[in-house]
Assembly symmetry: none
Homo-oligomer: 211 residues x 4
Amino acid sequence: MGNDNSKETIENLLKSAKKEFAEKGYMKASLRNICREAGVTTGALYFFFKDKDDLFRGVVGGPLMELRTCLERHMSEELKELDNYTPGMDVNLEDDMAAAAEAVKILFKHKEVFEILITKAQGSSLENVVDDIADLMNKHYTDMFWNMKGYSSKKQMTKEDKFIVHWMAHNQVDIFVHLLTHCKNEKEGLKQLKGMFAYIIGGWFGVINNA
Amino acid sequence: MGNDNSKETIENLLKSAKKEFAEKGYMKASLRNICREAGVTTGALYFFFKDKDDLFRGVVGGPLMELRTCLERHMSEELKELDNYTPGMDVNLEDDMAAAAEAVKILFKHKEVFEILITKAQGSSLENVVDDIADLMNKHYTDMFWNMKGYSSKKQMTKEDKFIVHWMAHNQVDIFVHLLTHCKNEKEGLKQLKGMFAYIIGGWFGVINNA
Amino acid sequence: MGNDNSKETIENLLKSAKKEFAEKGYMKASLRNICREAGVTTGALYFFFKDKDDLFRGVVGGPLMELRTCLERHMSEELKELDNYTPGMDVNLEDDMAAAAEAVKILFKHKEVFEILITKAQGSSLENVVDDIADLMNKHYTDMFWNMKGYSSKKQMTKEDKFIVHWMAHNQVDIFVHLLTHCKNEKEGLKQLKGMFAYIIGGWFGVINNA
Amino acid sequence: MGNDNSKETIENLLKSAKKEFAEKGYMKASLRNICREAGVTTGALYFFFKDKDDLFRGVVGGPLMELRTCLERHMSEELKELDNYTPGMDVNLEDDMAAAAEAVKILFKHKEVFEILITKAQGSSLENVVDDIADLMNKHYTDMFWNMKGYSSKKQMTKEDKFIVHWMAHNQVDIFVHLLTHCKNEKEGLKQLKGMFAYIIGGWFGVINNA
DNA sequence: GATGAATGAGTGTTCATTCAT
DNA sequence: AATGAATGAACACTCATTCAT
């Protein structure tokens, strides 16, 4: 197992890498700068990380997985609950709100990292991570929509419904992004989240009554 | 004004620049490639354009100005109309819809350019152009909100209201982005726009009733 | 068209590249050294040459083509003459000797370059050039062998004959290599060539009588 | 002597080194890869081998020595026999053939290693090993030549004779190389060796009658 | 015997930009 | 209006080797 030195080196590297990526974005970030700042030679970096992209994932991978796990857990739980719903029944929005709140907490817990992922990842293998998450949520919103519309059977969704559901998934992600980039801390983020939920829910009903 | 040769050179440059920016994004785009593709030397490029960023603005500047002009015109017209409103009166959503439709038309008219601006501008001076437009629309949405809430006088907006209005401005822009990147042409874009309007309006009422 | 400066730059580069390749071989040659020696920046090198391999071919390409052209010309001439032969007739060895002599002259005219090609090309796209030339000559030797054996018709060559002919082609190339690397100049090379021809011809008859 | 562990480590290293050298050649071979493949750290490698070159010699040293020993033994035996020759007597070609056959057997016994030595040793201290062996055989061929020409006393050899003898030594080595690289196994190698001997012997007589 | 961390010089290559002509 | 040559710093990455533990 590694000694204290190696742990420290890795941490120094991750720390200065985070700083550099946040300042310049993935592409313009210089490994030389990162190493210099970390007080380490380039060779050392390459002992611990395969390449620039690996270093990037080293910086953002943990928090990203934490967020993904959280979202997936909530989505699978909600999926189970949906089985108990009778058509026309109210969807449990409180659970959804709680799930969103938990996600917001994670976002603010690693604010710097998620800001990097949202706006500074271009060029890395994670440059599409925001869209990936939106796609992940698309399924959840599809189920949700199905239930809210009170469909009695699994008839085919229209192209327009598919589109609007896809948009709602993206929109939910945009809300997270907006909260993270416009609120100064978790507390404020959670407070504003409520107002945005009113917006979303209003939007849903607007769509459903319109369709 | 320049002769035909220079016009042609510029057009060749802009054309191959557009292609390169679209393929690789601002940062990874190579001026060498652009010049080679345009059948022109680097020196020539630098005769017409100050630097890489200037060339980028040369490619996207026209359409961007067209969009900005369109949005500003609608916003100032609507501002005038708002003076005639009595508190509590219905806001004219049809006008808003028409304005949005016109914007969508412009977006699809220069689909390639706006796709560049939305997803490939990182590193250029226009990398924040989407946010800039959202900020531009913030004022409009503030007025709108004011009216819909039936405020009789210009009393101070709460922090929460400011936030939600700012979000709505962003959200409107996100809709444009989503339409452009998920619809294959203007016709489909306009069709889906209607469904999204139902979402937005529902959202507004959700917020207003909630606040 | 380029001015005098560019010609000079290219020549300086080729000259110092030749020196570096000769000293260290393709792989260990350093482009930085080459540029420094040529009094030029790395960027300039890459204006004239696509990459390291291109520079290498720039150094050796001319002489190599000269040699190839010479060999191919002789081989096609001899091919024509062979049509006039009656089975059993003597092959005209004097022509073969003259062709070899001309090749030797070319080798010594560009002694440095061919030494590079023979022993220092590993890692470059021309690393198999010696074998390539042997393969080229294989066809010629096949025709030759056919005639010397006095075959009246084109019956199939045995596997053993094919092998020995292939070897003779390689052997001819080895002779060229040996002359170039063991004689100090063209004059001496040509003198020794005669002795080696006696060896080859003896070898041929040894094979033919044995087979 | 080392315990079983160390033996195993060494063997793993040699095995994966052989593979890497065969695939990439001495220069491009990476000690990192070799260690990884052997399941060993770089430090361990450096405990057993002084440096890259030492590892290379570890891989090829054994078979190379086996070959050298074989050749030297045959040459010294033949030297003894030559003392009994009367000028003009037939040289015993069968012995020479037997010696060559034995060498061929060794070559095929360690086919991979000798292929490395012949084509992949550039950059190592053994990069000239083929020439070295040719030089080793030069003495033998000098004696041989002396005897075949029927010299009664040790009068000076001409420069031309020296050259041709030196060439014949090289040529013998080239034959070994050719057999190893063009025959798929020992059996085929030995078969073709006979045909090549006819070539060599014919060559000798060609030279002797010509000189 | 062997680990794992670290070195530091080196690699080929690309880049936006400049400028004399 | 345009050329073509040249700059020089920067890039990500690899290497054989060392050494305290």
